[in-house]
Amino acid sequence: MNYAFATLFYFAAIVLVAGVAARLWRWGQVPAPLKIPTTPAPTTSGGVALRLARELVFFESLFRANLWLWACGWIFHVGLALVGLRHLRYFTDPVWGLVAWMQPLGILGGLLMVAGLAGLWLRRWAVQRIRYISTPSDHLMLALLLLIAASGLAMKFVFHTDVLAVKRFFIGLMHFQVLPLPADGPLVVHLSLVAALMLIFPFSKLMHAPGLFFSPTRNQPDDPRERRHQAAWAARLDVTKG
């Protein structure tokens, strides 16, 4: 089993990194031939950085759109960020000061994740409009995340796992050594689902995270009169007068 998980995680990590890189490469390759920021938009790149930061941290547009949705989504993502930070302790030795200090917050994060996800899923069922646009994969994705969070919390509160062994296993992987992993049910479930998440990430809507930064309606400064903006394929049309 140790080897199975080691292989799985190496594979998942490669797919995740390569898949995301390929998608970002593709997005970077495709030009944005016209200036299409949704106005009122900042006129400078500094302003654009601020706009993107507000979107990233506060989900500004979503806040304007729908408070319930914003609350569920934001709570979930904040929870996810806390949980992510907490999990750094499995990959760092010695554990960074901040990570050690925020460990209890990580637990709170797990609970926030569950609450946010439950809210999002409820919305998918309860609101007719959202039910209409939901695909099976939308539901499965929520189920997957919910199970990951639940199995993680279960290890904390119900069936304790030897987390030091887990840590040794992952640190080992980072040094290309396969060390034993505790054979606990919840842990196996938890890790398998995380690997599954890593595997589907680059091929799914989970790519929305980097998508924000490539979205021309959000990442362009509003300065078309002052600066000419032209894609290479469009500039080729310039050689003729008409």
């Binding site: 944005a32 016209l34 200036k35 959202i130």
Partner: protein, 523 residues
Amino acid sequence: MADPTAVPTPPAPAPKPAAAKPVAPALREFGEIPALQPGSMAGSKPYVANEKIQEAIGFPGALVEDWHDRAIGKMGELLGKYRSLQVFMDACVHCGACTDKCHYFLGSGDPKNMPVARQELMRSVYRRHFTLAGKLFPKLVGAQDLTRELLDDWFNYYHQCSECRRCSVFCPYGIDTAEITMAGREILDSIGYGQKYGNEIIGKVHRIGNNLGLPGPALEDTLLGLEEDVKEDTGADVKYPLDVQGAEVLLVTPSADFFAEPHVESLIGYGKVFHAAGISWTLSSKASEAGNFGMFIGNYEQLRKIALRIREAALELGVKRIVVGECGHAWRVAYSFWNTLVGIGAGGKDPFAIELQRQLDPRYKQPMHICELTWDLIQQGRLKFDKEKNDHRIITFHDSCNVARASRMGDAPGGQFEIPRAIIRAVANHYVEMAPGTTHEKTFCCGGGGGLLTDELMDLRIKGALPRMEALRQVVDQQGVNFMATICAICKAQFSKVLPYYGHKMQLVGGVHQLVSTAIRLD
């Protein structure tokens, strides 16, 4: 006066079943979102362009035999040319934030008019052909083949989007359904399944110089007539010049301004502003149209070709400034795209752009909106007004989508909201705002933008106007508003048509420069 929407229509292709006269939906309680009514707008579609119209602008005359493969091929091409399309196809999380933001959905309840569902019509095909998940597990991720039925849905529902970008304001990733609608129409055109109204107009712009097919001599007559009217009204010799070599300003305005009500009142106003400020100006018979329907069909080549007329006219006439009249999408194209397309603006490096930059006066923004020009003059104290002449009006302002969400005026973000309002306040005493969720960048489309201003879509247009009509009703009932000013030719034409369905007089709508025209002192 003639109906601005009247593109002469040949007899309808097939005898239509006696359609019931469209009626306006009931106004809702504020903020109420309609229950889904699947299929309620499935029958709403514009006339298909015939062979002559299509071929005149380089598209196949009728649906080609291998349409499926060519559509997929075109989609692949566009995915490689437009980052917006590529990212928007990938990034949507089906969160639903946009689902209640589209005026066509709010007015019709048809779920396919929810922006994300409109996108899904294309995204499902994208997934099927361009993603691993869609190739392997189509059902799971909502991928589907492009069937004839789905293609018809594209035609119908990509012509139930006014490309107003309201949905994009609220989407957490800024996904702009307008970009997808444009791509959809571009694909449809490329396989010979075009829309009659828009494509016929594009043909006319190339053939005659403007959307309404008004030839040069007729234009000249109209302008002379205007001069006489204004002389009679005011006693002043206000000129409406055409093709004047060496004028300071080239004014490019929507052709509806030349003869449709209430549009022409604004044209009269522009002339008075130039007259009062002593600025020499001219219209051009070659560029007698600010509108650019190339944008509506998402076709870059058409967009560019139509914009080129402006550059050519400016170079030929030797003008120092290019100013754009009251037209929403034209201002988007002028402000956001002209520099990119043909180098009207700063920074172009091709020979014609360089020549133009040498000719144009760098002290002014190029191109400039007529409201920017008027507001600058007001601030310099070069225009005087008798504000009380507008006292019979209680005025509100309708932000037009393309101005509000796709362009700017002045130096700071949001100038497109402030400047027209500042002008109104400078020329009139009674000004009222509509409800905040319905103005500025959250403004609701008039319901007729994006190439939908055609009679066969009347039912859609009435339904799409619903959210604006609700906000208007509020200020009419509570504050006695009797004039809704706007700076878009399509808004003016659409509201003139639709207002009566909601129990208002069509004269309720008019231009900002119509108000300027009423109050300006000419001596």
